[in-house]
């Protein structure tokens, strides 16, 4: 009882609480409520209104009359439309049939076998993410085109057309499918495998009855993702499509080349359908999948199996080799004087200021846009996730925000870009001044890539103790102060992941921003498109290579810096000594 006296005295005269008093205190505690409305307004401007503008463009004629049925009839009656639709479907289904099994094999090798050098294979497989979707098209031209090394491979028509698009899209979509399937195969309950072995099931039967059903959702998700990416991409068809036009390219041409906005909007709306459909099915399936992995599951560790490992190594080598071949063709062609006739090394194709397409300005703009997108996007995405996951508020508002954060996943870049054109380029819009500016490009990118970042942030935030904010509130500390002092430092790894993802995505994107740049804000990936259009294929390859290098380097630098930074600031993560 010796310590009792001073404490009792202190208790009698309250020591006061943190956070100041009066108006400042009320503002600090009320901030999250206001921020939610701000985020809702942001979603409206960056997502909902542009989409509505797209619908408006497609549904109404210039006088404001309902014109959807007539336009649909007109589109369907066009003798080109049904073949266009058929070609888009044929290409995307073929790519999905090619990529999903290969990506599954690759993911299986990385997650469920004992193949050596896994980080290396994973790095190679993810390389296409660092390049714009135009790079595989250009590389295919160098490999199989009229002057390509393997020019006879695809018969008289050459690579231009169906097979060119399929191979280019396969390269472009492979890492996307791989990431989905790796996530699906990362969760395995060892108890199921032990049970199968105890009951005498053969490895093949175990694969069919345990592994495949467990990855069913991932397989479906990967197939949907590939279909959506292929249907809405116009980069690859533009470069190697030749006389094989597809829907996405048609929408792009309608708006950029022919100023047929209504037609572009209508096709854009059609392209939104498969994405929305797969998104809905995916959400429904995730709800069912959740219960399958119980918290008592044991982590599965692959055992020794020479046959399986040899087969896996074969898959990894074949796929990795093919991906590297495509990359090497683009990089190689950019470094020689005239492929394939004069193989003397040169940097002449990197002299962008003497080419059409924007020159080095485009590259600087891209760097600036990627950095701004990463900065603004990380802040917006993390705070948005924090508002919905960690603060209290009306359920309907949180629901609306969450739905808004998930929606970008279902909106292809092409569709979003078209929506931005119709919304921000409308002369009556007070935000019209933003059109063509860097601000709008950044806004569009943040909206385009929002969902992936949001899912990362929300997952990290949900792992925190559920009572952090309540404990801080009881101590009189405002939520935003706790967010800054505790939540952000604890979630730093997730924040850095989001930053990296946004930077690389903004560096390589073409689909949405192609409708929004001005001569002052031309971008590197767009200059690839323009230089290829102008026949400067080697320079297009050079710029693609530069983008690839920049993204990969930025990624490595950020990873390295993050590791060092985390080591210095996150001493608390170290285990107890």
């Amino acid at each position: 009882m010796t310590r009792a006296a001073p404490v009792a005295a202190a208790a009698a005269a309250p020591a006061g609480r943190a956070g100041g008093a009066g108006l400042a205190r009320r503002l600090a505690h009320g901030a999250p409520a206001g921020m939610k409305w701000l985020w809702l307004a942001g979603l409206a401007v960056a997502l909902a209104l542009p989409l509505l503008a797209l619908f408006g463009q497609a549904w109404f004629d210039q006088a404001g009359n309902w014109a959807l049925p007539a336009r649909m009839a007109e589109l369907a009656a066009n003798p080109n439309f049904v073949p266009l639709l058929g070609r888009s479907l044929a290409v995307s289904l073929t790519v999905a049939a090619l990529v999903v099994p290969l990506a599954f094999g690759f993911a299986y090798a990385l997650q469920r076998s004992r193949v050596a050098f896994k980080p290396l294979w994973r790095g190679i497989a993810l390389l296409p993410l660092f390049a714009p979707s135009l790079l595989p098209g250009i590389a295919l031209v160098y490999l199989f085109g009229n002057q390509g090394i393997f020019k006879g491979t695809f018969g008289a028509g050459g690579i231009y057309g169906f097979w060119g698009i399929v191979l280019g899209e396969a390269f472009y979509t492979f890492p996307h499918a791989l990431m989905v399937l790796m996530a699906a195969l990362s969760l395995a309950d060892a108890r199921l495998y032990e049970a199968a072995r105890a009951m005498g099931a053969s490895p093949w039967r175990t694969f069919l009855t345990v592994t495949l059903p467990g990855a069913r959702h991932g397989l479906f998700g990967a197939a949907c993702l590939v279909l959506t990416l292929v249907v809405t991409d116009f980069g690859v068809p533009k470069v190697v499509g030749g006389g094989y036009p597809v829907l996405a390219l048609e929408a792009y041409k309608a708006v950029v080349g022919q100023q047929q906005f209504a037609r572009g909007a209508l096709i854009g709306m059609l392209l939104l359908l498969p994405a929305l459909l797969t998104f809905g099915v995916d959400v429904a399936m995730q709800r069912r999948q959740r219960a399958q992995m119980s918290s008592r599951a044991q982590v599965y560790v692959p055992g020794r199996d020479r046959l399986r490992d040899a087969a896996c190594l074969l898959v990894v080598l074949a796929v990795g080799g093919a991906l590297l071949l495509v990359l090497a063709a683009a990089v190689g062609a950019s470094l020689v004087r005239l492929w394939p006739y004069n193989l003397q090394l040169t940097l002449a194709h990197y002299d962008f200021d003497n080419m059409d397409g924007g020159g080095w300005l485009a590259y600087r703009n891209s760097l600036k846009m990627a950095a701004l997108t990463a900065l603004a996007g990380t802040a917006a995405i993390f705070l948005g996730a924090w508002l919905t996951e960690r603060t209290r508020g009306p359920a309907w508002l949180h629901g609306a925000l969450r739905a808004g954060f998930m929606l970008p996943m279902a909106v292809p870049g092409l569709v979003l870009g078209l929506g931005y054109v119709f919304f921000f380029n409308a002369p009556a819009n007070p935000l019209h001044a933003l059109y063509g500016t860097m601000t709008l490009l950044v806004l569009c990118n943040v909206a385009h890539f929002y969902t992936t970042g949001h899912l990362t942030a929300a997952a990290a935030l949900r792992q925190l103790d559920g009572e952090f904010e309540a404990a801080a509130l009881s101590l009189g500390v405002a939520p935003l102060a706790t967010c800054w002092r505790v939540t952000v430092p604890v979630c730093l790894p997730a924040l850095l992941d989001i930053f990296r993802y946004l930077f690389v995505s903004a560096m390589t994107t073409v689909s949405a921003v192609v409708f929004l740049y001005s001569p002052d804000t031309v971008l590197a990936a767009i200059s690839v498109l323009n230089m290829d259009d102008a026949g400067d294929t080697a320079s297009a390859a050079a710029m693609s290579t530069l983008i690839l290098l920049t993204s990969a380097l930025a990624c490595l630098l950020l990873l390295g810096a993050a590791r060092g930074w985390l080591r210095r600031t996150q001493a608390w993560r170290a285990p107890a000594h």
Partner: protein
Amino acid sequence: MQAGESAPGRAFLAVEQVSKRFGGAGGFQALDGVSLSVAQGELLCLLGPSGCGKTTLLRIIAGLEREDAGRIHAGGRELTGLPPQSRDYGILFQSYALFPNLTVSQNVAYGLPGRGMGRVHRDARVREMLALVGLDGSERKFPGQLSGGQQQRVALARALAPAPSLLLLDEPMSALDARVREHLRLELRQLQRRLNVTTVMVTHDQDEAMAMADRIAVMDGGRIAQSGTPGEIYERPASAFVAEFIGQANWLAGRRSGRDTFRVGEVELAVSPACAGAAPEHATRLCCRPEAVRLQPAEGEPNRLLARIVDETYLGSRYRLMLAADRLPGITLFADVLREQRHLLPAPGSHKFWVALPSQALQVFA
């Protein structure tokens, strides 16, 4: 101070007719017109099975949930509708909710103003609080480097540092292993008494409630089934639910056969007039604690039965006997006997002896 002493005096915290329903009209009634009051310096324990509404009530007092109806006062101030930061309480969560990236002293200082001159006072207060919970010397450690019991003390020091007038404890012991729990239970109680801070604790553990509380409010289905000192709750449970929830009991099905008598099987049992009078006319259940069963009673005692030991369980300081009485077929009676008196009784088997269910120990419920 003595254990179990209730602190009389005016109520510090008053909860009046608080109701809460989750999930709209078809939802779940978590609280149904709950009223209670806690005196200055008293430790009130909200006890009940999961889903009884105890945690919801605590969160409503803390301002973390909004009540649908009712009022809350504390220290002469109306708290109804106030946000958590304006309520002046400290809270200790089941998970402790310590900030993992802040050191022990940063955690404790989290709620203290620290600009300018405040800094000196703050540092002094942190040292004082850490000394109070016996953690001096751990200032620079991170929560992840502490044991569960130490983490709990840091969380307690953090909650008490701003000198709140009310302390809320949400299942404070449930994350600890059994041995640490008993020890910390005592420490927490001593600290609470020393600071004389009004405290509301939520628990589902009846032993914890008995050991720590001045008063216990047993909750069931969103209502308070009974509130009183641990002794009152145990010895005079107000309902069958309370009697069943607290401690062990023998339950006998029967019906009233006279003013103060009940018929159970072939036996007529006498019940104390006070208890029988208070019980409803159609009461059907009698209850008797195992330690109240009289073994080898004197000749003249009421409610005597001839029984034999069927089986027994060794509980350290005592044995729990399972008895079969001739005239109560199909019923196993539980009775406790101290270890040093066990030898006075026969071994399990057919050997019979007298037991009695004392009339003043029999409770009657509907």
